[in-house]
Symmetry: none
Subunit: 251 residues, 2 copies
């Protein structure tokens, strides 16, 4: 991997780009994954490359929702595997949730490589290599799912996910938590909790929140979820982008 | 290429993404071109994925400027070659302008592949494989140009271009027309006409405008160019983004 000097002003974003490029070289991430990375970078830049107050609120609500879940499950795609494999494993272990490999551009080799990577990071339950169910409303290879994972889950965490899939899971009655830097995306709008933040920040923040909230009573966790307003959070994220653009052109 | 079902709500943007991914597989587009594509997607989202009124005004002024030109020339890079090779050829033919292959990350093989592709689309004059001039103020491989093309042109069309190169061409006294989805970029700010639109829409729109305006008198074309205010157009583009964001979430 190209060495990025820590002093480079764009260090964090260049490291992320290198991870995804390395993910492509290792056969974990699709070429299209690099495009998604570029899109995310742009939105992150507009957000100010930080966890905004609204994203922090979403992260807390997501943690509460996951702690309340009976059968939580996490989706992992090629970008997630390139960017934060270890953090996803830590989070999954903290909740005893399975990690399910789900790819928009599916190939069995790539599913296996990602599954192997997660296991090498210490994951206890990794599924997706032998799908035995299909999600209604999705085409073909994109509908594949695994019983005991996303298919049966009551709460699903779907970072960097396609809008169709988010819709389909929500239509099945599941509670959907998305991590998506674009507050205007179908995924962000359809999810129950949309964490509009860079997954490099959101994943460790979510793990920290899960640990912090794990001592709360169920009724308190339910209170957090009940008081949470995703529409308002997305509105605030959009205001944050507008504020950033405002500063670019002086009237 | 992965088949995108026509029913997918993001069909157009997914097709563009596939074209760029295919461009990489065919050795036309650099990997960095994928990140640039993603960044463009972000801005297109913010614009509402449509040709805005200000972009339409810029496209008209660009067409007038090209019709008035004595020696127009077009730059084609790896992303342009992946996305709109046929449209660029149609536009070049409509103006009897040469297509010059210019790459930020230059390799002779890639220049040749792009040149061959353009010729296979029916291009009459494709140059760039044998550069014989250098543009002042640019480093090395990025300064390479060809006499009879961009180097000698009075008006240059530079879609998806780097800010440094835009600056250098403007500094040579050329009239510069850019296509760039980011109204805040150095390229957009420095060009004489900045078409803030997706090249998938801008290229055919530009060709249509050239055909439509080709019957006008020179004095009328000069009037269009004289009345055009690029600073105002960029300002309007930013307002259009803010307006689009405003409309996304009702208070």
């Amino acid at each position: 991997m190209t060495e990025i000097p820590k002093s480079h002003p764009r260090y964090a974003s260049l490291v992320a780009r290198e991870r995804v490029a390395e993910g492509v070289r290792k056969g974990l991430t699709s070429i299209q994954g690099l495009i998604a990375q570029g899109r995310g970078e742009c939105f992150d830049y507009l957000l100010g490359e930080r966890t905004t107050p609204s994203a922090a609120a979403a992260t807390q609500a997501a943690a509460a929702m996951l702690l309340l879940a009976e059968r939580p499950a996490f989706s992992v795609n090629g970008n997630v595997a390139a960017l934060v494999p270890e953090e996803m494993v830590k989070l999954a272990c903290a909740l005893a949730a399975p990690l399910e490999v789900n790819l928009f551009h599916r190939s069995e080799e790539r599913v296996k490589r990602i599954a192997d990577l997660l296991r090498s990071c210490g994951a206890e339950r990794v599924i997706g290599e032998n799908p035995d169910a299909t999600i209604e409303g999705l085409d073909h290879a994109r509908a594949l799912a695994t019983r005991g994972g996303i298919y049966d889950a009551d709460v699903v965490l779907i970072p960097l996910e396609d809008g169709d899939r988010c819709e389909a899971l929500a239509a099945m009655g599941k509670k959907v938590i998305a991590i998506d830097l674009n507050p205007l995306s179908r995924t962000a709008r359809r999810a129950n909790v949309s964490i509009v933040d860079n997954i490099l920040r959101a994943a460790p923040n979510l793990t920290a929140q899960v640990r912090q909230l794990s001592s709360l009573q169920r009724s308190d966790l339910e209170g957090i979820v009940r008081d949470y307003d995703n529409e308002n959070v997305l509105h605030r994220a959009v205001q944050e982008i507008k504020g950033h653009l405002e500063g670019q052109f002086k009237d």
